[in-house]
Amino acid sequence: MTAFRMPSLGADMEDGTLVEWKIRPGEKVHRGDIVAVVETAKGAIEIEIFHDGVVAELLVAPGTKVPVGAVLARLDGAATTTPAAMREAVVVAAPVRPTPVLPQPPAAREAPARRRVTPAARQRTAALGIDLGGLRGTGVDGAICLADLPSPAAAPATRRGGFDPAAMRRAIAAAMGRSKREIPHYYLSQTVDMTGPLARIEALNRDRAPPDRLLPAALILHAVARAVAETPELNGFWEDGAFRQGDGVHVGWAVALRGGGLVAPAIRDADRLSPEALMAALRDIVARARGGGLRSSELTDATITVTSVGDRGAESVLPIIYPPQVAILGIGRIVERPWVVEGNVVPRRVAALTLAGDHRASDGHRGGLLLARIESKLQEAEVP
């Protein structure tokens, strides 16, 4: 028997709500299969399993909120393979108090207690004609409270893919608070001439329809990922007082969500992808981050994060490391500035690259090398 547990999808996750099972008892599963959908502060996430085996029993009913590490299901004949992401999940889950989830014998199920609904929630459900049956309570003593209801202005809420901005805010607060408390950040910045790279992609985009165009982000990501591969000291995790190098360059790309909040799903092995492939990956994760359907591994795999403020953002950004990662790169807005080239002042399009590094894991010298490598890769004439 192997336990399938609520995974930790980041240092900021304490619990998740099982929305849907994608498997049934008796069904065979293989490593990598999507077996459940879990709602977190980051929206509904498709959860992959890391074992092969046969589903013996499902222990948690859809709609139930359980802490990270709680057993969700049991598998028979499972060959356990624990990938890095799951090891990470276990590490993160450790401080969470263990809450045993006891399987309920189906025959001896007690008569359902009267549903608890707060007066305000009952008032609103009556006004909106909402059926309480499908709702789950997150209020005091498990009561259905206003937070569990669609707001009167909103259309009927689509839980799938949606996320709770307040919960996400709390999750971000927890992760960023931890980062600023624990991580001694050092900051480096370098302004990079983007004129050449931009001219190349503009030439490439000339005959393309807008949806097929390559954006500067893909080119920058391409340079960043390959530079990170050459600077492994900045690619990985700070765990238990030591640095652990990532098993590849999996770049988390920060995606701002409409309505507030952000999520940084990983693009795996980004250093081995072409700019075109990276562009496709970026479009895919942005769409899924905003519309739902991110996978659990995408939330745990990132070995370094990149945050790009885009073409309406600020000139530079001093980002905060997402623990347990050890570095984050910020990319400012591309701006036109007077620039000295071979003794002449000329207009150039430039962007500020910034790096926040965890000084426990690396020193500024390494960080400076990374920025220099990114700049040199951006200037490579043959790319893309």
Binding site: P119, V140, C145
Partner: protein, 329 residues
């Protein structure tokens, strides 16, 4: 123009009394040790020498006698301020307060007004043990015919006395013993306050913390701690315990939908119970969580410092109660 004025709560009480005595020849203060000794909490220090022994009167140790004398003086046209050393001793004058002061205006068909102001110290925290440390203002707030004030800020300590003396009915002012040494600012230009309304001392959207008197600053400390966690608590200072400003409470509940009541009195049959019931009566459908209370432990207030502190509402317990409503486990 001068800016905000900083002073202690004690000094604010002293200035209020001095101003009242100087402003109106009908006003005088009497009580135990208020003259020569300057008051057991030193509120009236120096006033007897400045204003005269006929305006600041030392009385014998008989609360029933000097409160009764004050009631008689008020009925006869004077504006007495009577200091009772602590509210624990006011029980000796309870017959005078309830059966005479609160009742005579009604029983005389309005022929007699009783414009007396009774000041008394209340509350715990100074290791004065069980006979000097209780919070009995909730009991007095039970009695129709009385107005009960609980100044928590220096500004209220400075300015509540004048409207209390202007009130034709008996007014009781409860001064928490832990506030006397506290310093605060009187905002520039402030020359008076009302004795009818509660005040929002800190706005917030997530939970309402209703309190008064000595618990106000503990509650504000709890609100600060909660803010660090992202919980915005609204702090209501009742100021007037009878008649309660229920409109202010209900307006806040309608905004936050969650309430914690902080009251240094004992929980059973307390003012906090009354406030909770008013909320249930008037704002039940606004509530999105049960009402919680943080009160003193139901024991005689202990003498030992650690036990005394353990018996009283503390910021940690207030924050925990609020947290439990906003973020249930």
């Amino acid at each position: 123009m001068s800016g905000a004025i900083r002073m202690t709560y004690r000094e604010a009480c002293r200035q209020a009394i001095r101003e009242a005595v100087l402003a109106d020849p009908r006003v005088f203060l009497m009580g135990e040790d208020v003259g020569r000794y300057g008051g057991c909490y030193a509120v009236t220090k120096g006033l007897s020498a400045e204003l005269g022994e006929d305006r600041i009167l030392d009385t014998p140790l008989s609360e029933s006698a000097f409160v009764g004398a004050g009631i008689g003086a008020a009925m006869a046209g004077m504006r007495p301020i009577v200091e009772v050393m602590t509210c624990n001793f006011s029980l000796l004058a309870l017959d005078q307060i309830l059966n005479n002061a609160a009742t005579i205006p009604h029983m005389s068909g309005g022929q007699f007004a009783v414009p007396i102001v009774l000041r008394m110290a209340t509350g715990a925290g100074r290791q004065l043990a069980a006979q000097h440390s209780h919070s009995l203002e909730g009991w007095f707030a039970h009695i129709p015919g009385l107005r009960i004030l609980a100044p928590a800020t220096v500004a209220d300590a400075r300015f509540m006395l004048a409207p209390a003396l202007a009130d034709p009915n008996p007014v009781l002012i409860f001064e928490h013993v832990m506030l006397y040494n506290m310093e605060g600012e009187i905002p520039a230009g402030l020359a008076g306050v009302d004795i009818a309304h509660a005040a929002v001392r800190r706005p917030g959207r997530d939970v309402t913390l209703v309190t008064y008197g000595g618990s106000l600053f503990k509650t504000l400390a709890a609100a600060e701690a909660l803010a660090a966690e992202g919980i915005e608590a609204e702090v209501i200072d009742l100021r007037v315990l009878r008649p309660l400003d229920t409109a202010a409470i209900m307006a806040s509940v309608a905004r936050t939908r969650r309430v914690v009541i902080v009251d240094e009195g004992w929980r059973s049959g307390s003012l906090s119970a009354e406030i909770a019931m008013r909320i249930v009566e008037e704002a039940f459908f606004e509530l999105d969580a049960p009402i919680r209370r943080v009160c003193s432990r139901e024991v005689p207030i202990p003498y030992a410092a650690h036990l005394e502190q353990a018996a009283l509402p503390q910021p940690e317990a207030i924050a925990a109660a609020a947290r439990g409503l906003v973020r249930p486990a």
